[in-house]
Protein backbone atom coordinates (compact mmCIF):
# COMPACT_ATOMS: atom_id res chain seq x y z
CA UNK A 1 0.00 0.00 0.00
CA UNK A 2 0.99 3.65 -0.29
CA UNK A 3 3.43 5.03 2.26
CA UNK A 4 1.97 8.54 1.87
CA UNK A 5 1.03 10.55 4.93
CA UNK A 6 -2.68 10.98 5.58
CA UNK A 7 -3.47 14.66 6.26
CA UNK A 8 -6.62 15.11 8.31
CA UNK A 9 -8.30 18.45 8.93
CA UNK A 10 -10.01 18.68 12.33
CA UNK A 11 -12.64 21.41 12.43
CA UNK A 12 -13.12 22.97 15.86
CA UNK A 13 -16.60 24.44 16.10
CA UNK A 14 -15.81 27.70 17.90
CA UNK A 15 -13.40 30.59 17.33
CA UNK A 16 -10.88 30.44 20.19
CA UNK A 17 -7.42 31.42 21.41
CA UNK A 18 -4.36 29.25 20.80
CA UNK A 19 -4.32 28.24 24.49
CA UNK A 20 -7.91 27.09 24.24
CA UNK A 21 -7.22 25.30 20.98
CA UNK A 22 -4.34 23.45 22.64
CA UNK A 23 -6.85 21.82 24.99
CA UNK A 24 -8.69 20.46 21.96
CA UNK A 25 -5.44 19.32 20.38
CA UNK A 26 -4.66 17.19 23.45
CA UNK A 27 -7.08 14.64 22.00
CA UNK A 28 -4.40 13.75 19.45
CA UNK A 29 -2.30 12.11 22.19
CA UNK A 30 -5.23 9.99 23.35
CA UNK A 31 -5.64 8.31 19.96
CA UNK A 32 -2.27 6.55 19.62
CA UNK A 33 -2.40 7.44 15.94
CA UNK A 34 0.03 5.91 13.47
CA UNK A 35 2.95 8.22 12.59
CA UNK A 36 1.69 8.55 9.03
CA UNK A 37 -1.45 10.43 10.12
CA UNK A 38 -1.13 14.20 10.54
CA UNK A 39 -3.87 16.23 12.21
CA UNK A 40 -4.33 19.93 11.47
CA UNK A 41 -6.77 21.82 13.68
CA UNK A 42 -8.79 24.75 12.36
CA UNK A 43 -11.43 26.81 14.12
CA UNK A 44 -14.62 28.11 12.58
CA UNK A 45 -14.97 31.83 11.88
CA UNK A 46 -18.21 32.12 13.83
CA UNK A 47 -20.38 29.90 15.99
CA UNK A 48 -23.41 29.82 18.25
CA UNK A 49 -22.59 30.47 21.92
CA UNK A 50 -23.63 26.89 22.69
CA UNK A 51 -25.59 24.06 21.07
CA UNK A 52 -28.95 24.16 22.81
CA UNK A 53 -31.51 25.30 20.25
CA UNK A 54 -32.50 24.82 16.63
CA UNK A 55 -31.04 28.26 15.86
CA UNK A 56 -27.72 27.18 17.35
CA UNK A 57 -27.73 24.01 15.26
CA UNK A 58 -28.18 25.96 12.02
CA UNK A 59 -25.38 28.42 12.84
CA UNK A 60 -23.11 25.51 13.79
CA UNK A 61 -23.91 23.74 10.51
CA UNK A 62 -23.07 26.72 8.33
CA UNK A 63 -19.96 27.60 10.34
CA UNK A 64 -18.51 24.12 9.97
CA UNK A 65 -19.52 23.85 6.33
CA UNK A 66 -17.58 27.02 5.56
CA UNK A 67 -14.56 25.93 7.57
CA UNK A 68 -14.27 22.65 5.67
CA UNK A 69 -15.36 23.71 2.19
CA UNK A 70 -11.86 23.93 0.75
CA UNK A 71 -10.32 21.00 2.61
CA UNK A 72 -9.94 18.91 -0.52
CA UNK A 73 -8.27 21.61 -2.62
CA UNK A 74 -6.06 22.47 0.36
CA UNK A 75 -4.61 18.97 0.14
CA UNK A 76 -6.36 17.25 3.02
CA UNK A 77 -7.25 13.58 2.76
CA UNK A 78 -10.11 13.62 5.27
CA UNK A 79 -12.07 15.94 7.57
CA UNK A 80 -13.07 15.33 11.18
CA UNK A 81 -15.47 17.52 13.15
CA UNK A 82 -14.59 18.20 16.77
CA UNK A 83 -18.16 17.95 18.03
CA UNK A 84 -20.42 15.00 18.80
CA UNK A 85 -23.31 16.98 17.34
CA UNK A 86 -21.99 16.06 13.86
CA UNK A 87 -22.83 19.63 12.88
CA UNK A 88 -22.05 20.45 9.27
CA UNK A 89 -21.16 16.86 8.38
CA UNK A 90 -24.06 16.14 6.04
CA UNK A 91 -23.54 19.38 4.10
CA UNK A 92 -19.77 18.86 3.92
CA UNK A 93 -20.31 15.32 2.70
CA UNK A 94 -22.47 16.68 -0.09
CA UNK A 95 -19.59 18.91 -1.20
CA UNK A 96 -16.43 16.86 -0.63
CA UNK A 97 -15.26 13.57 -2.11
CA UNK A 98 -12.77 12.97 0.71
CA UNK A 99 -14.14 11.25 3.83
CA UNK A 100 -15.89 13.49 6.32
CA UNK A 101 -16.07 11.77 9.68
CA UNK A 102 -19.00 12.31 12.04
CA UNK A 103 -17.89 11.64 15.65
CA UNK A 104 -21.38 11.15 17.05
CA UNK A 105 -22.57 8.77 14.38
CA UNK A 106 -19.26 6.91 14.44
CA UNK A 107 -19.26 6.59 18.23
CA UNK A 108 -22.79 5.18 18.47
CA UNK A 109 -22.13 2.64 15.71
CA UNK A 110 -18.78 1.64 17.22
CA UNK A 111 -20.54 1.13 20.55
CA UNK A 112 -22.74 -1.43 18.82
CA UNK A 113 -19.62 -3.29 17.68
CA UNK A 114 -18.66 -3.75 21.35
CA UNK A 115 -21.99 -4.23 23.11
CA UNK A 116 -25.75 -4.39 22.72
CA UNK A 117 -27.03 -1.13 24.24
CA UNK A 118 -25.04 2.01 24.93
CA UNK A 119 -25.59 4.94 27.24
CA UNK A 120 -24.70 8.57 26.57
CA UNK A 121 -22.97 10.49 29.37
CA UNK A 122 -23.39 14.22 29.01
CA UNK A 123 -22.50 17.41 30.84
CA UNK A 124 -25.79 19.10 30.37
CA UNK A 125 -29.40 18.14 29.79
CA UNK A 126 -29.71 20.89 27.19
CA UNK A 127 -27.44 18.85 24.91
CA UNK A 128 -29.83 15.88 24.82
CA UNK A 129 -31.53 17.16 21.68
CA UNK A 130 -28.28 16.75 19.77
CA UNK A 131 -28.00 13.07 20.63
CA UNK A 132 -31.65 12.42 19.97
CA UNK A 133 -31.30 13.99 16.53
CA UNK A 134 -28.43 11.68 15.55
CA UNK A 135 -30.08 8.60 17.06
CA UNK A 136 -33.25 9.33 15.10
CA UNK A 137 -31.29 9.93 11.92
CA UNK A 138 -29.51 6.60 12.38
CA UNK A 139 -32.71 4.81 13.37
CA UNK A 140 -31.11 3.30 16.47
CA UNK A 141 -33.07 4.98 19.28
CA UNK A 142 -33.93 1.53 20.63
CA UNK A 143 -30.24 0.69 21.08
CA UNK A 144 -29.69 3.62 23.43
CA UNK A 145 -30.20 2.50 27.03
CA UNK A 146 -30.27 6.03 28.38
CA UNK A 147 -28.86 9.55 28.35
CA UNK A 148 -27.74 11.14 31.61
CA UNK A 149 -26.16 14.46 32.44
CA UNK A 150 -24.47 16.04 35.45
CA UNK A 151 -26.51 19.21 34.98
CA UNK A 152 -23.46 21.43 34.55
CA UNK A 153 -23.19 24.10 31.91
CA UNK A 154 -20.04 23.20 29.97
CA UNK A 155 -17.18 25.48 29.06
CA UNK A 156 -16.54 24.82 25.39
CA UNK A 157 -13.26 26.70 25.39
CA UNK A 158 -11.56 25.80 28.70
CA UNK A 159 -13.20 22.36 28.94
CA UNK A 160 -12.80 20.69 32.36
CA UNK A 161 -9.54 22.41 33.28
CA UNK A 162 -9.53 23.54 36.93
CA UNK A 163 -12.87 21.89 37.61
CA UNK A 164 -11.79 18.25 37.59
CA UNK A 165 -12.24 17.64 41.33
CA UNK A 166 -15.85 18.72 41.21
CA UNK A 167 -16.86 17.29 37.88
CA UNK A 168 -15.16 13.91 37.58
CA UNK A 169 -16.95 12.30 40.57
CA UNK A 170 -20.28 13.57 39.25
CA UNK A 171 -19.58 12.08 35.83
CA UNK A 172 -18.61 8.80 37.49
CA UNK A 173 -21.87 8.66 39.45
CA UNK A 174 -23.94 9.34 36.34
CA UNK A 175 -22.03 6.70 34.38
CA UNK A 176 -22.63 4.11 37.12
CA UNK A 177 -26.34 4.85 36.92
CA UNK A 178 -26.27 4.41 33.13
CA UNK A 179 -24.76 0.96 33.63
CA UNK A 180 -26.60 -0.25 36.72
CA UNK A 181 -30.00 1.40 36.39
CA UNK A 182 -30.38 1.84 32.62
CA UNK A 183 -28.59 -1.29 31.35
CA UNK A 184 -25.89 0.37 29.25
CA UNK A 185 -23.07 -2.01 28.39
CA UNK A 186 -20.98 0.65 26.61
CA UNK A 187 -20.77 4.35 27.48
CA UNK A 188 -20.40 7.12 24.93
CA UNK A 189 -19.02 10.46 26.09
CA UNK A 190 -21.51 13.07 24.98
CA UNK A 191 -18.97 15.65 23.85
CA UNK A 192 -15.44 15.81 22.50
CA UNK A 193 -14.92 18.46 25.19
CA UNK A 194 -15.17 15.69 27.82
CA UNK A 195 -12.00 13.96 26.63
CA UNK A 196 -10.15 14.97 29.80
CA UNK A 197 -12.54 12.72 31.77
CA UNK A 198 -12.01 9.61 29.65
CA UNK A 199 -9.06 8.06 31.46
CA UNK A 200 -10.56 8.71 34.90
CA UNK A 201 -13.83 7.04 33.93
CA UNK A 202 -12.29 4.10 32.07
CA UNK A 203 -10.19 3.24 35.14
CA UNK A 204 -13.27 3.13 37.34
CA UNK A 205 -16.03 1.58 35.25
CA UNK A 206 -16.54 -2.01 34.10
CA UNK A 207 -17.67 -1.19 30.55
CA UNK A 208 -15.92 0.33 27.52
CA UNK A 209 -15.96 4.15 27.48
CA UNK A 210 -15.82 5.69 24.01
CA UNK A 211 -13.86 8.91 23.59
CA UNK A 212 -15.41 10.47 20.48
CA UNK A 213 -12.63 12.78 19.28
CA UNK A 214 -9.76 10.26 19.25
CA UNK A 215 -12.16 7.62 17.91
CA UNK A 216 -13.01 9.90 14.99
CA UNK A 217 -9.30 10.33 14.11
CA UNK A 218 -8.74 6.58 14.08
CA UNK A 219 -11.90 6.12 12.04
CA UNK A 220 -10.59 8.64 9.52
CA UNK A 221 -7.40 6.58 9.23
CA UNK A 222 -9.42 3.37 8.85
CA UNK A 223 -11.66 4.90 6.19
CA UNK A 224 -8.67 6.22 4.23
CA UNK A 225 -6.70 2.99 4.53
CA UNK A 226 -9.65 1.10 3.07
CA UNK A 227 -10.07 3.61 0.24
CA UNK A 228 -13.60 4.44 1.37
CA UNK A 229 -15.61 7.65 1.69
CA UNK A 230 -19.23 8.60 2.29
CA UNK A 231 -21.70 7.36 -0.29
CA UNK A 232 -22.61 9.89 -2.96
CA UNK A 233 -26.00 8.17 -3.14
CA UNK A 234 -26.59 9.13 0.50
CA UNK A 235 -25.11 12.61 0.16
CA UNK A 236 -25.85 13.87 -3.37
CA UNK A 237 -23.96 16.91 -4.70
CA UNK A 238 -25.83 20.22 -5.16
CA UNK A 239 -26.67 21.22 -8.71
CA UNK A 240 -25.04 24.60 -8.12
CA UNK A 241 -22.38 25.02 -5.43
CA UNK A 242 -22.55 28.33 -3.60
CA UNK A 243 -19.07 28.35 -2.11
CA UNK A 244 -18.54 32.09 -2.56
CA UNK A 245 -21.87 32.85 -0.94
CA UNK A 246 -21.04 30.62 2.03
CA UNK A 247 -17.61 32.23 2.47
CA UNK A 248 -19.10 35.71 2.37
CA UNK A 249 -21.80 34.73 4.86
CA UNK A 250 -19.23 33.57 7.39
CA UNK A 251 -17.02 36.58 6.87
CA UNK A 252 -20.08 38.70 7.61
CA UNK A 253 -20.87 36.59 10.66
CA UNK A 254 -17.34 37.07 12.02
CA UNK A 255 -17.54 40.84 11.46
CA UNK A 256 -20.87 40.89 13.22
CA UNK A 257 -19.39 39.13 16.26
CA UNK A 258 -16.63 41.75 16.50
CA UNK A 259 -19.17 44.51 16.82
CA UNK A 260 -21.49 42.78 19.26
CA UNK A 261 -21.13 40.80 22.48
CA UNK A 262 -19.46 37.55 21.35
CA UNK A 263 -20.80 35.51 24.25
Amino acid sequence: MSSDVFKVLVLVPFPMSSDQLAKREEQRDEANLPNDVQLHYKTTKAAPSNYVSAMDYVIADIGLLEAGLHAEEDGFDAVCIDTVSDSGVAALRSMLDIPVIAPGRTMFLTALMLGRRFGVLSMWERWFGLYERTLRDLGIEDRCAGIRSIDTQPDSRNLLTGKEEDILPLLHDAAVRLVEDDGADVICLGSTTMHQAHEYLQQRLPVPILNPGPLSYLTAETTLALGLAQSRKAYPSPLVSKTDMISEMLAAAARSEQTTDPT
Partner: protein
Protein backbone atom coordinates in the same frame (compact mmCIF):
# COMPACT_ATOMS: atom_id res chain seq x y z
CA UNK B 1 4.85 -5.83 18.36
CA UNK B 2 1.24 -6.93 18.91
CA UNK B 3 -0.07 -10.21 17.52
CA UNK B 4 -3.54 -10.74 16.08
CA UNK B 5 -4.93 -14.20 15.39
CA UNK B 6 -7.15 -14.51 12.32
CA UNK B 7 -9.24 -17.64 12.71
CA UNK B 8 -9.88 -19.24 9.31
CA UNK B 9 -13.13 -21.20 9.38
CA UNK B 10 -11.95 -24.21 7.39
CA UNK B 11 -9.13 -26.67 8.05
CA UNK B 12 -7.06 -25.40 5.13
CA UNK B 13 -3.54 -26.23 4.02
CA UNK B 14 -0.79 -23.65 3.50
CA UNK B 15 -1.58 -22.83 -0.16
CA UNK B 16 -5.23 -22.15 0.60
CA UNK B 17 -4.33 -20.19 3.73
CA UNK B 18 -2.14 -17.94 1.56
CA UNK B 19 -5.23 -16.89 -0.41
CA UNK B 20 -6.86 -15.87 2.88
CA UNK B 21 -3.69 -14.13 4.06
CA UNK B 22 -3.68 -12.05 0.86
CA UNK B 23 -6.41 -9.91 2.46
CA UNK B 24 -3.76 -8.23 4.60
CA UNK B 25 -2.13 -6.78 1.46
CA UNK B 26 -5.39 -5.09 0.42
CA UNK B 27 -5.22 -2.43 3.11
CA UNK B 28 -2.59 -0.26 4.76
CA UNK B 29 -1.96 -1.88 8.14
CA UNK B 30 0.05 -0.88 11.18
CA UNK B 31 3.68 -1.96 11.08
CA UNK B 32 3.40 -2.72 14.80
CA UNK B 33 0.89 -5.54 14.43
CA UNK B 34 1.45 -9.06 13.13
CA UNK B 35 -1.41 -11.12 11.72
CA UNK B 36 -1.27 -14.89 11.98
CA UNK B 37 -3.83 -16.97 10.09
CA UNK B 38 -4.87 -20.01 12.09
CA UNK B 39 -7.25 -22.58 10.59
CA UNK B 40 -9.81 -24.39 12.72
CA UNK B 41 -9.10 -28.05 13.41
CA UNK B 42 -12.32 -29.33 11.89
CA UNK B 43 -15.78 -28.19 10.94
CA UNK B 44 -18.55 -28.29 8.38
CA UNK B 45 -17.94 -28.84 4.65
CA UNK B 46 -20.60 -26.35 3.58
CA UNK B 47 -22.14 -23.31 5.23
CA UNK B 48 -25.85 -23.36 4.55
CA UNK B 49 -27.66 -25.09 7.39
CA UNK B 50 -28.03 -24.82 11.14
CA UNK B 51 -25.92 -27.97 11.37
CA UNK B 52 -23.07 -26.20 9.58
CA UNK B 53 -23.43 -23.00 11.56
CA UNK B 54 -23.34 -24.78 14.91
CA UNK B 55 -20.28 -26.83 13.99
CA UNK B 56 -18.50 -23.68 12.90
CA UNK B 57 -19.39 -21.87 16.13
CA UNK B 58 -17.73 -24.66 18.12
CA UNK B 59 -14.70 -24.87 15.82
CA UNK B 60 -14.05 -21.11 15.90
CA UNK B 61 -14.58 -21.04 19.66
CA UNK B 62 -11.93 -23.74 20.08
CA UNK B 63 -9.42 -22.06 17.80
CA UNK B 64 -9.98 -18.70 19.48
CA UNK B 65 -9.56 -20.19 22.96
CA UNK B 66 -6.22 -21.59 21.76
CA UNK B 67 -5.26 -18.15 20.47
CA UNK B 68 -6.08 -16.69 23.88
CA UNK B 69 -3.97 -19.35 25.60
CA UNK B 70 -1.05 -18.59 23.29
CA UNK B 71 -1.29 -14.91 24.25
CA UNK B 72 -2.53 -13.17 21.11
CA UNK B 73 -3.52 -9.54 21.68
CA UNK B 74 -6.73 -9.79 19.63
CA UNK B 75 -8.73 -12.27 17.59
CA UNK B 76 -10.48 -11.79 14.25
CA UNK B 77 -12.72 -14.34 12.60
CA UNK B 78 -12.27 -14.73 8.85
CA UNK B 79 -15.96 -15.14 8.07
CA UNK B 80 -18.64 -12.49 7.67
CA UNK B 81 -21.06 -14.80 9.47
CA UNK B 82 -19.17 -13.87 12.66
CA UNK B 83 -19.39 -17.52 13.65
CA UNK B 84 -18.14 -18.15 17.16
CA UNK B 85 -17.61 -14.47 17.92
CA UNK B 86 -20.19 -14.10 20.68
CA UNK B 87 -18.99 -17.27 22.44
CA UNK B 88 -15.36 -16.18 22.13
CA UNK B 89 -16.17 -12.77 23.54
CA UNK B 90 -17.68 -14.50 26.57
CA UNK B 91 -14.36 -16.17 27.39
CA UNK B 92 -11.66 -13.79 26.10
CA UNK B 93 -10.80 -10.35 27.47
CA UNK B 94 -8.78 -9.34 24.39
CA UNK B 95 -10.81 -7.80 21.53
CA UNK B 96 -12.66 -10.28 19.33
CA UNK B 97 -13.93 -8.85 16.04
CA UNK B 98 -16.35 -10.33 13.54
CA UNK B 99 -16.21 -8.84 10.04
CA UNK B 100 -19.95 -9.18 9.40
CA UNK B 101 -21.37 -6.98 12.11
CA UNK B 102 -18.44 -4.57 11.79
CA UNK B 103 -19.09 -4.24 8.03
CA UNK B 104 -22.75 -3.40 8.40
CA UNK B 105 -22.19 -0.90 11.22
CA UNK B 106 -19.27 0.69 9.41
CA UNK B 107 -21.43 0.95 6.28
CA UNK B 108 -23.82 3.10 8.30
CA UNK B 109 -21.02 5.59 8.97
CA UNK B 110 -20.94 6.17 5.18
CA UNK B 111 -24.61 6.00 4.19
CA UNK B 112 -28.06 5.38 5.59
CA UNK B 113 -28.87 1.99 4.06
CA UNK B 114 -26.61 -0.84 2.99
CA UNK B 115 -27.08 -3.85 0.74
CA UNK B 116 -25.48 -7.25 1.19
CA UNK B 117 -23.95 -9.22 -1.67
CA UNK B 118 -24.38 -12.93 -0.97
CA UNK B 119 -22.74 -15.79 -2.81
CA UNK B 120 -25.70 -17.94 -3.80
CA UNK B 121 -29.24 -18.71 -2.77
CA UNK B 122 -28.31 -21.10 0.08
CA UNK B 123 -26.29 -18.29 1.70
CA UNK B 124 -29.34 -16.05 2.11
CA UNK B 125 -30.61 -17.76 5.26
CA UNK B 126 -27.44 -16.94 7.15
CA UNK B 127 -27.51 -13.27 6.13
CA UNK B 128 -31.13 -13.16 7.23
CA UNK B 129 -30.17 -14.62 10.63
CA UNK B 130 -27.39 -12.05 11.04
CA UNK B 131 -29.65 -9.10 10.21
CA UNK B 132 -32.09 -10.26 12.88
CA UNK B 133 -29.48 -10.95 15.54
CA UNK B 134 -27.70 -7.66 15.02
CA UNK B 135 -30.92 -5.63 14.85
CA UNK B 136 -30.00 -4.17 11.47
CA UNK B 137 -32.83 -5.36 9.25
CA UNK B 138 -34.34 -1.90 9.03
CA UNK B 139 -31.07 -0.54 7.71
CA UNK B 140 -30.70 -3.15 4.99
CA UNK B 141 -31.98 -2.16 1.54
CA UNK B 142 -31.69 -5.70 0.24
CA UNK B 143 -29.70 -8.91 -0.11
CA UNK B 144 -28.79 -10.17 -3.58
CA UNK B 145 -26.76 -13.18 -4.62
CA UNK B 146 -24.77 -13.95 -7.77
CA UNK B 147 -25.73 -17.58 -8.06
CA UNK B 148 -22.28 -19.13 -7.86
CA UNK B 149 -21.36 -22.01 -5.63
CA UNK B 150 -18.67 -20.90 -3.15
CA UNK B 151 -15.19 -22.34 -3.33
CA UNK B 152 -13.86 -21.95 0.21
CA UNK B 153 -10.39 -23.13 -0.77
CA UNK B 154 -9.63 -21.44 -4.13
CA UNK B 155 -12.01 -18.50 -3.59
CA UNK B 156 -12.56 -16.65 -6.88
CA UNK B 157 -9.17 -17.69 -8.26
CA UNK B 158 -9.20 -17.96 -12.06
CA UNK B 159 -13.01 -17.68 -12.29
CA UNK B 160 -13.00 -13.87 -12.22
CA UNK B 161 -13.98 -13.31 -15.86
CA UNK B 162 -17.11 -15.34 -15.35
CA UNK B 163 -17.96 -14.36 -11.78
CA UNK B 164 -17.23 -10.64 -11.52
CA UNK B 165 -19.88 -9.54 -14.08
CA UNK B 166 -22.44 -11.56 -12.14
CA UNK B 167 -21.32 -9.91 -8.90
CA UNK B 168 -21.56 -6.49 -10.52
CA UNK B 169 -25.08 -7.21 -11.78
CA UNK B 170 -26.17 -8.28 -8.29
CA UNK B 171 -24.64 -5.09 -6.83
CA UNK B 172 -26.55 -2.98 -9.36
CA UNK B 173 -29.76 -4.65 -8.24
CA UNK B 174 -28.87 -3.68 -4.65
CA UNK B 175 -28.34 -0.06 -5.68
CA UNK B 176 -31.70 -0.07 -7.47
CA UNK B 177 -33.23 -1.29 -4.20
CA UNK B 178 -31.82 1.75 -2.40
CA UNK B 179 -28.45 0.52 -1.13
CA UNK B 180 -26.07 3.45 -0.65
CA UNK B 181 -23.24 1.22 0.53
CA UNK B 182 -22.60 -2.44 -0.32
CA UNK B 183 -21.21 -5.00 2.10
CA UNK B 184 -19.53 -8.04 0.58
CA UNK B 185 -21.29 -10.91 2.31
CA UNK B 186 -18.22 -13.09 2.66
CA UNK B 187 -14.51 -12.59 3.30
CA UNK B 188 -13.95 -15.10 0.48
CA UNK B 189 -15.04 -12.41 -2.02
CA UNK B 190 -12.04 -10.20 -1.25
CA UNK B 191 -10.33 -10.90 -4.58
CA UNK B 192 -13.26 -9.26 -6.39
CA UNK B 193 -13.32 -6.12 -4.27
CA UNK B 194 -11.03 -3.93 -6.38
CA UNK B 195 -12.86 -4.86 -9.59
CA UNK B 196 -16.23 -3.98 -8.09
CA UNK B 197 -14.93 -0.67 -6.71
CA UNK B 198 -13.88 0.31 -10.25
CA UNK B 199 -17.32 -0.47 -11.66
CA UNK B 200 -19.81 0.73 -9.04
CA UNK B 201 -20.83 4.20 -7.79
CA UNK B 202 -21.15 3.38 -4.08
CA UNK B 203 -18.65 2.40 -1.37
CA UNK B 204 -17.99 -1.34 -1.20
CA UNK B 205 -16.99 -2.74 2.18
CA UNK B 206 -14.39 -5.52 2.07
CA UNK B 207 -15.11 -7.28 5.36
CA UNK B 208 -11.76 -8.96 6.07
CA UNK B 209 -9.55 -5.88 5.64
CA UNK B 210 -12.12 -3.79 7.53
CA UNK B 211 -11.96 -6.20 10.45
CA UNK B 212 -8.16 -5.79 10.69
CA UNK B 213 -8.53 -2.02 10.78
CA UNK B 214 -11.20 -2.24 13.48
CA UNK B 215 -8.86 -4.41 15.54
CA UNK B 216 -6.12 -1.82 15.11
CA UNK B 217 -8.51 0.92 16.20
CA UNK B 218 -9.58 -1.00 19.30
CA UNK B 219 -5.99 -1.82 20.26
CA UNK B 220 -4.93 1.81 19.76
CA UNK B 221 -7.72 3.00 22.04
CA UNK B 222 -7.35 0.24 24.62
CA UNK B 223 -10.91 -0.91 23.97
CA UNK B 224 -12.50 -4.33 23.92
CA UNK B 225 -16.02 -5.77 23.83
CA UNK B 226 -18.24 -5.09 26.82
CA UNK B 227 -18.24 -7.72 29.56
CA UNK B 228 -21.76 -6.58 30.40
CA UNK B 229 -22.89 -7.53 26.91
CA UNK B 230 -20.89 -10.77 26.79
CA UNK B 231 -20.86 -12.17 30.34
CA UNK B 232 -18.43 -14.95 31.26
CA UNK B 233 -19.69 -18.48 31.89
CA UNK B 234 -19.84 -19.53 35.53
CA UNK B 235 -17.68 -22.52 34.68
CA UNK B 236 -15.53 -22.24 31.55
CA UNK B 237 -14.98 -25.56 29.77
CA UNK B 238 -11.91 -25.06 27.59
CA UNK B 239 -10.67 -28.64 28.07
CA UNK B 240 -14.01 -30.05 26.93
CA UNK B 241 -14.02 -27.79 23.87
CA UNK B 242 -10.44 -28.70 22.96
CA UNK B 243 -11.27 -32.39 23.37
CA UNK B 244 -14.29 -32.13 21.08
CA UNK B 245 -12.30 -30.52 18.29
CA UNK B 246 -9.41 -32.94 18.67
CA UNK B 247 -11.88 -35.73 18.25
CA UNK B 248 -13.51 -33.99 15.28
CA UNK B 249 -10.13 -33.58 13.56
CA UNK B 250 -9.27 -37.22 14.15
CA UNK B 251 -12.63 -38.28 12.76
CA UNK B 252 -12.07 -36.23 9.60
CA UNK B 253 -8.66 -37.77 8.98
CA UNK B 254 -10.05 -41.33 8.99
Amino acid sequence: MKRVAVIVPFALGEADLARRRAQTSEVRLSADIEYEFLPVKGGPSSFQSHHDWLLLDVAVLEAGISAGEIGFDAVVVDTASDSGVDALRSVLDVPVVGPGRASMLFALTLGKRFGVLAQWEPALARVDKSLTEWGLRGHCAGVEHFDTEPDFENLIGDKGAEVIPKMEAACRRLIESGAEVICLGSTTMHEAHRFLVERLPVPIINPGPLSYKIVELLLAMGLSHSRKAFPKPLVPKPEMIHAMLKSAAEGESH
